[in-house]
Amino acid sequence: MPLLEVKNLKKYFPVRKGFFSKSHQWIKAVDDISFSVEEGETLGLVGESGCGKTTAGRCILRLIEPTAGKIFFEGKNILDFKSKEMRALRTKMQIVFQDPFASLNPRRVVLDLVGEGLLEHKLVKNTLEQKEKVAELLKRVGLSPDILYKYPHEFSGGQRQRIAIARALSLGPSLIVCDEPVSALDVSIQAQIINLLTDLQEEMKLAYIFIAHDLSVVKHISKRIAVMYLGQIVESAPSDELFEFPLHPYTKALLSSIPVPDPEIKKQRVIVKGELTQVMDREKGCVFAPRCPISDKECFERKIEELYVNSRHYVKCIKEGGIDYE
């Protein structure tokens, strides 16, 4: 049984036309997505800004309430949980945020930041035990326990992210949602944090939902990757397969847009037209059709279903596989 199973998750935001008018239009931030994560594995959730990956991550933790759908954690639908059960759930699911500067309260010391949850959930009996546990966690993430009484601004971005990871680990979760945890870091530090996350995963059998917009980073850490565009998963496959045999035009465009650090390679680029715009009330047709290099009339009219290429690779495109490179 998978650790986490998301079924038909939807999050719609109403577009208000006035204070009293009923909303007729919705921004479909997350539009009917489904995926699952096994214990100890990583699912990479990839897409550009506005695709809904961050919203999806927040919905899984119920930091935002989904509009519809089911989220099964350890077999139980957490959307039915009341506050007491939700509290207990917090110890099992955690999150690491993108911005290492804003995710730590500047007015609290490291001990409080990392140890807050421990006292709250009574995982330690007193402040002495709390100190010990926090020191242990800090060592786990590669930081010295001397920093217990320091403030966040005394640390660099990479160190702060480690503190945030220590905080996420404090309650002993089995799933951590990593929301672009390395996007704000320098390249050399990115590598350190990614290595840390992989090590922790092995040690503690952690499952990750790794949200990112950088495909190359995601590939290193994920077993499966789901590519999102405008609230929908347009392709989902094991990571090696996604890179070797991308099917969806958007995936191909993403892959080809990554600047490769080698001036010899002139990549074959898939050109994506125009800009991402929110289309509201999209009942039929493919979300990507307006920008797709190979879209035609049919793409705008038909209902697009998931097409299974093999048991673990599906794509939401009726034209997959025939793309002209430029």
Partner: protein, 358 residues
């Protein structure tokens, strides 16, 4: 409730973050503000001991080998050889036989030997009397020493203003926090309510209610508080709206920390800036409003000493300049000092390097 107290004390004391320490440093460096602050504190503390500084009762009486402290305790007349139900008038007593030179009995009066309600009569002069060596600032229209009244008046108005400001701040912060954190219907309905209250004319309401309920300290206190909290709630509401979106708040929610704790532990310490910068000006407003009410005759009931009341006497006796000059001057001085402190606090919290752009 216990939670609240525990958190306030634990969270806001002693855990002075480096941010706070830096701000204190900057404030201290601003000599004008720092000096003003010290003067205000000293004056206030001194005024708290007003009873020992200016009083028509002596500090110590030594009578028949026993020590008495009339300034602290009340002694019936027969303690000093008067009738049992007589109230000793110590100044009179001092002139009489048992206390003449060499008798071994003596009294020690405070440096300013006048009570705030003691009418003094001078030969051939009608009150108010101009400043003399004995009455440094003169007397008012009932012959009471002005310096004494100013000291006691300062104590009352400043204490009153502090109380109002503190109570108003607490209420305003709580309401603003709830509005900003929860938003939605709570916020909108609270806003409408605030708008209605803000539309009420403060002074008129107080006048009306004072006239019907009679003037009393508590009536005034409650009325002031009813209006005072609104100002700070606007700022706190916007700070909470802004801060509740911060990732570190989300992180705490993800850890399962409850709303109340998040508000006090995480958001409030980051929202202190408007509170601290607003406080001095709130204080000025309170002192000024109280003086204005006293001036109009709707403030504290007589014979409470107050600066506003003295100024009104000054208006009624315009030729006696000391009745207008000293009380108004004193009020101006105090408010000016608070304004300096406020300015210093504001710039300590928000320093900008002003440089030339080329």
């Amino acid at each position: 409730m216990l939670y609240f107290l525990k958190y306030v004390i634990k969270e806001l004391e002693l855990k002075l973050s480096p941010i706070t320490l830096k701000r204190l440093e900057r404030f201290r460096k601003n000599s004008l503000s720092y000096a003003s602050f010290l003067i205000l504190i000293v004056l206030y503390v001194v005024s708290l001991f007003a009873d020992f500084i200016a009083n028509d009762k002596p500090l110590v009486v030594f009578y028949k080998n026993k020590i008495y402290f009339p300034v602290l305790f009340f002694y019936p007349g027969d303690t000093f050889g008067l009738g049992k139900s007589d109230i000793p008038n110590y100044k009179e007593l001092q002139k009489r036989e048992p206390f003449r030179e060499g008798s071994g009995n003596f009294m020690i009066f405070p440096p300013i030997p006048y009570g705030y309600n003691e009418s003094l009569f001078f030969e051939g002069e009608n009150p108010p009397t101009p400043p003399t060596l004995k009455n440094l600032l003169g007397t008012d229209d009932r012959g009471r020493d002005i310096l004494t009244r100013l000291i006691y008046g300062y104590r009352i108005s400043f204490s009153f203003a502090l109380l109002i400001t503190a109570a108003g701040m607490i209420i305003g912060v709580m309401i603003g926090a709830l509005q900003g954190y929860y938003g939605g219907v709570l916020d909108i309905s609270m806003q409408r309510f605030i708008e209605i209250i803000s539309a009420l004319p403060f002074l008129y309401i107080i006048i009306i209610i004072s006239s019907s309920l009679g003037r009393s300290f508590w009536v005034l206190f409650l009325l002031f508080i009813m209006f005072d909290w609104i100002g700070i709630s606007y700022f706190i509401r916007s700070e909470f709206y802004k801060l509740r979106e911060m990732p570190f708040v989300e992180a705490s929610r993800a850890l399962g920390i409850g709303d109340g704790k998040i508000m006090f532990r995480h958001i409030l310490p980051n929202a202190l800036t408007p509170i601290i910068t607003f406080l001095p000006f709130d204080l000025i407003g309170a002192i000024f409003s109280l003086s204005a009410l006293d001036f109009l005759g709707f403030g504290l009931p007589p014979p409470a000493p107050s600066i506003g009341e003295l100024i009104r006497q000054g208006m009624n006796n315009i030729s006696s300049y000391w009745l207008s000059l000293f009380p108004a001057g004193f009020l101006f001085f105090i408010l000016l000092l608070i304004a300096f402190v406020g300015e210093g606090v504001r710039s300590a919290f928000d320093p900008r390097d002003y440089h030339k752009m080329e």
